[in-house]
Assembly symmetry: C2
Homo-oligomer: 329 residues x 2
């Protein structure tokens, strides 16, 4: 018997406890080629909100009343597959539960790299890779660029800040409130914008970037994206990664002035991580080197216990996290 | 004495005769190094609307009660400059008038290429170069792409249609009304959309591009841009060239769903022609070859007489032109 979170209905705006249920589920018997894994860390991520809608998106919707998927790190308890043995640490997508059984192909034995296991949910996996490929490939940012990063205290944003500094860029980060701004400076940002402080985003960005920006890494959309467009120098490159400003709205905010994209010769590049999957090995080697050298910090917010998984997820939208949000089982 | 058009006030929405005056102006005496030119063709272009606003833009505003600038082809009447002689045909920016005097540096003697003189206002100059660099460089379009072009009966649009066909692409063009659509097919488009016909742009584009588009060349913005985003395949590239839908509005239309840029991994590339000025020679050679081989057609709408210059300009916004709009003096 395992315990798993299920989605019981699709939220229309902010998700809440009423949309989730923690249920007991039977584990299937261990067939030939299967493994049985006990989860030790599970990940909650903003993109999951997109799976909590019926209908088409770039990723499939969560099915109602079915254990939810999500990235997790676990330890093999029992194995009937040649490639995995009890005690192996694995990365897989049966999160939001304490134990899972499945074919060994669905569980990736973690490479032998000198990083802590929970980093495979953050800097070493989707969060870090999204930051790395978005900044360096989608936006093509280089040493000397002036980079604006929104949601810079979040999982992806805090990784972007640190990677940009390692690569010799000037970094401006936005975050909500003085404490988060202090955190963003602490991980290396040259300047910060408190988006909750009075004034328009455009005025606040112009104040810290009087000579304009050359790169924008967008996790937010809405007024952040409009402000970045207004303050961009000719030829600036934007990586569009997420739009958390609109994730809980029926109609996400528009981009107000597309003519500015022409006048400023901007390149806006939307991307999904899977485009870069063929370059994952090189990313992992470089990132593991930065982690073990102490040049980049895993800055997780940790919730304790499977029961807390929905609360950790809600916290993504109410600003409760600094860095990557994870749940320890 | 020369005659020149002046802007007498800045229009707030649609420009009309009340904003223009045709006045007599003195020609300065011909100094050392100057030339005196009689204009034979002048150009009217949508971008000029952007100069009819006070304040900052990517090009300077027209000064009120001062002869307006614009591209023109003329013939040298008298020269006190070594590089130019009477009878030379020149390209310059003192349009909206019949005669002009100025330093020889401001007049470019036309290269010896086998093309008609008025083509230097269209296919051989800004109109053709904007189409060429936008399609092939900003969007990076290649043989096999499915290209959607808005305002395909206009100056830039009709050049894009023809260049795309020469380069082996499939082309869908939008235009207003059955006659213009017939014209767009006549110059080579594989399919057309009448934006004035009933139905949404998105439904109409989907109907002619059931497998999606891989390139969009935007002259219009607004619902055309939104429809192109909705129908774009993953990884599609957009060249953003103009937004004629919003040129006569105080607040141009927004881009409604920036999240789709992420979900479809789109690249939106705004550009101004001057980025590509260093590659102009190669463009001119290739375009002149296509013109003299008859592979691309100058499809000008010609207004007769300097008096008609404002009427020709207004016609850009009321759909009176097919192809490039020029005035013959």
């Amino acid at each position: 018997m395992a315990r798993a979170w299920q989605l019981t209905s699709y939220p229309t705006d902010m998700p809440g406890p009423e949309h989730f249920a923690l249920v007991d589920v039977d584990l299937p018997p261990l067939g030939e080629g299967d493994v049985h894994v006990r989860n030790s860390w599970i990940s909650v991520d903003p993109y999951m909100r997109g799976r909590m809608r019926p209908g088409e998106s770039y990723i499939p919707s969560f099915e109602l009343d079915t254990p939810m998927e999500g990235t997790a790190v676990g330890v093999v308890v029992e194995s009937r597959a040649p490639g995995l043995k009890a005690g192996d640490t694995v990365l897989h997508s049966q999160g939001w539960r304490d134990e899972a059984v499945g074919p060994a192909e669905a569980f990736e034995k973690l490479p032998d790299l000198p990083v802590p296991p929970e980093s495979w949910l953050g800097l070493m996996f989707a969060t870090g890779a999204t930051a790395y490929f978005g900044l360096l490939h989608a936006a093509g940012a280089k040493a000397g660029d002036v980079v604006f990063v929104s949601a810079a205290a979040g999982g992806v944003g805090s990784a972007v800040v640190q990677i940009a500094k390692i690569k010799g860029m000037t970094v401006i980060g936005s975050a909500g409130g003085p404490e988060k701004c202090a955190f963003v400076r602490q991980i290396g940002a040259d300047a910060t914008i408190d988006y909750k402080a009075p004034g328009t985003m455009e005025d606040k960005l112009r104040a810290v970037a009087p000579d304009g920006i050359s790169v924008y890494f967008d996790n937010v959309g809405g007024d952040h994206l409009d402000a970045a467009i207004a303050c961009a120098n000719y030829g600036a490159r934007f990586a569009l990664c997420g739009g958390i400003a609109g994730y809980n709205m029926d109609t996400p905010p528009p981009l107000r002035n597309p003519m500015e994209i022409i006048k400023s010769g901007l390149t806006l590049r939307g991307y999904l991580l899977y485009e870069y999957m063929d370059q994952l090995a090189g990313f992992r080697t470089e990132m593991a080197g930065w982690i073990s050298d102490g040049r980049i910090r895993s800055v997780d917010t940790i919730f304790e216990g499977l029961e807390q998984a929905p609360a950790a997820f809600f916290g993504l939208f109410t600003g409760r996290n600094t860095g990557k949000m994870v749940v320890r089982l």
